[in-house]
Structure formats: C-alpha cells, structure tokens
Symmetry: C3
Subunit: 168 residues, 3 copies
C-alpha cells in the first residue's frame, strides 16, 4: 500500500519538479518535508523558488534533522515529498549526529509507512576526487545513504536534463 520513490540526479537536473509531479500523482494534497537549513542567502533563494512553484495543495514542514519525527507526524495525511536527503545528511554531519544510525533508521522506517514517500537526493560522486578530505567524506556518506534508501525503495529514477530515467 505504501510506496517509496527515490529520485536522484545532479544539481539542476530537474529532480524536484519530477518529484513534485510524482507526489501529486498520489493525492490532491501533499506534505513537503524540507530538510534545508535556511542559514545562508543562496539556500534561502533556492527554497523561495521551490515554494513559489508549490501551490496551495502543499503543506510545508521543516525537518533539517528529525526526518523520522516528520514522517511520524505526517502519517495518515497523504503523500509526502522529502527534499532532499543530501541536505539532511549534511545537517546531520555538521551537527555531529550519527548519520549512519539515522540513515539506517530511515531505511528501516520507509517500508512501514502507510502513506507514500517521494525522496529527492543528489548524485555527488561523478566528478574528480575532491582535494578536501571533508568533501570526500561527505560524498562517500551521500553515496552510501543513497544506496541504503534505493535498496528499500519501490522505484528509483535518475533525473537527466529534467527527464526521469527509470533505474528500478
């Protein structure tokens, strides 16, 4: 009955629009779970752009860290869109949380949801190995987290130039 969909892709590959369309395919109204921590101007501008695209059909919930709590609180209220996993990971790492435990917990939690969950994430491992050790650590973590969620997802898509390419 539940359905988990993972949409991955590079920056500006059209992931969010694809995910919004898929989420609204599950119901007339939906919850937008924003993991962004709106602390810098660039990010604030991006969030504003996302918001302007979302109509009255959407209820927005902020979950920079407690994604599990947000899923629990929105159960029974229709489909959820989580945008995005990579920012959530970044928030967990920067605040010293155990991202591996949180990621494993999320993967275990998703198949038990009764309402659909569409999740946006990023491909960050397709470039040259970064000089910066923290950047390497982050891209390794992001790749692992994507694998854990893809494993439990019912469908996985790679966004390419705004188009969803089905991977699972």
């Amino acid at each position: 009955m539940s359905k988990t969909i993972l949409i991955t892709g590079g920056a500006r590959s059209g992931k969010s629009v694809i995910a919004e369309t898929m989420t609204l395919g599950f119901g007339k109204t939906a919850t937008y779970i924003a993991t962004a921590d709106s602390s810098d101007a660039e990010m604030t501008a991006r969030i504003a752009a996302h918001k302007s695209r979302r109509k009255a059909q959407w209820t927005t919930v902020e979950a920079p860290l407690d994604l599990a709590g947000s899923l629990r609180n929105t159960e029974g209220k229709g489909p959820r869109l989580v945008d995005c996993l990579t920012l959530w990971l970044s928030n967990l790492m920067l605040s010293g949380h155990d991202w591996q435990a949180a990621g494993r917990d999320l993967a275990a939690r998703l198949p038990r949801q009764s309402d659909p969950v569409v999740i946006v994430t990023n491909e960050v491992g397709g470039g040259i190995v970064p000089d910066n050790p923290l950047a390497r650590e982050f891209r390794d973590a992001a790749g692992l987290l994507n694998q854990w969620i893809a494993e439990v997802a019912d469908e996985v898509y790679l966004a390419v130039a705004g188009l969803p390419l089905k991977v699972k």
Copy 2:
C-alpha cells in the same frame, strides 16, 4: 519533419562522436556549428582533434555567441550539429549576455527548424558542490539550459563510456 536531438554526458563520455554519427544519419553532408571560442591552447587542441575526425562531408561554422543566427543561415542546407551548448552558455555568461533570454529563444526556435539539429551538451552537476560561487552559478545555469532544450527535443541521450543511453 524537423528533428531535435540532445546528447548530454560528462567530459570525454563520447558525446561528440555519437552526435556526429547521428547527424550524418540525416544526410550525406552536414554543418558543424562550433560554439568554441578558441582563445586558449587546450581548447584549440580539442577543436583540432574534432576537426581531424570530421571528413569532407562537413562544413564548419563558428558561432561562439550567435547560435540563432547560425541556425537561420544553415536552414535548408541539411542537418546541423551544435557542439556544444555548454561552451555557448559559458561564452554568453563571460561576455555579459542575457543567457536566459538566449536559452529560451533557442528552445522556442528549435521546433520550428525544417532541417534536423543535433545538440551536444555537458553534465556538470554530478560532483560535489563547488566552493567557487561562479562555478555554482555556471552549473546551475547549465542544468537549467539542458532542461529547457531537453523539453523541446524529440530525443535525448545520456552518453556513458561512448554509448548512448536513451532518456527520451
């Protein structure tokens, strides 16, 4: 009657060779619209390699900025290959042009062409978020431009290790 094909992919993923083959599938002779601004040595070497691969069947036209004009001038002369969109975008941004207006204009113009247009572009958003704000701006712009052109394209391919993976 017209056909627009977009070939995207990472650096050295074999996009140009795939695009050349597809373009010559539309006719015995074709026009190569080069957007490269041959101002540095590395780029000049790349262009020379491209040229050496192109046989007598090809007529080369340079269009670092005025892609619309080049499309207009080559209409009725057989298929065109535009290589590549990302360099065109870079030239527009570096010279202070309104790349959004130019990109939207190109997207509107492509479906009205009578001769086929095969376009090469780059995936630049698959790595770690760049430190450099200009690099972030460029990759955002490149991603959006790719989406606009993919939306009007009849076919879209992702080049992987020299092989075309059909996305649309």
Copy 3:
C-alpha cells in the same frame, strides 16, 4: 565463451558490490585483481573494507601496473574481477608509463580471454571542469579509457545508488 563486463559509476555508487555479484555468477570461486596502490591510509581502509566483504571464494592478486600480466596469469582459473580501471590509470600516469598504449593493449586483450573478466571503473567527468590541469588531463584520460573498454565489452552497466542500469 569469454565475457567482458564493464561496470561504471560515480564514487560510492555500489559498483564493487554489483561487480562482485556478477563475477560470482560465472563461477563458485574467482580472482580479485586489485589495482590499488595501497600507499595512503584512506586507500588502505577502503581496500580493507573490500577485503572484509570478500569471502573465502576469492583469491586476491595485486596489479597496480601490470594488468596484462595478471590477466595472463589468471587465465584458466575462473572469472576475474578487476577493481578498478581508474586506479590502474592513475598508477600508470603517476609512474610515467604510456597509459594510452597500455589501455589499447588491454582493449585488444579482453576479447581474447577465455575466462570472464568483470571490470569496475569510475565516472569522473560529471562535475564542473577542474581548475587543476592535471585533474583535467586525468579525467580526459579516464573518459577515453572507459570508451575503449566499453567498445570491446559485451555488457556495460552504469551503477546508480547501488543499482545496475544497463547501457550495453
């Protein structure tokens, strides 16, 4: 009778696990040809993680440079897994070998193997153009090498979030 399979993908896209599974699909025991040059701590940790995943079914051979010799020595002993092409290329370039000759030789050699060879490689060209000329040179070389091997491979897969997407 022989079969060459190439698995490409970004960092932490699950390439190695996919490749290990495919290799063991060809036989109960297999040879793991490691191209890693275990000179730094980070790489040593990665190799250890790979080793802990590999069971008694695997025999490990180290081939930081002489991949051709390793293929020759392991012929007739069942399937081989080469992990990975990108590290091999890096070792060749850093030690001043002619990577192009070695790469072309490998591409010529693969179709003549009687036992299957599964090869892991990396997508490194999906980010912003690196500032560093050596990084640009490396990503160009890696892209070309991937194309040469993909051309002679019987099957090519792109790993996305741990899932194999068939390209050829």
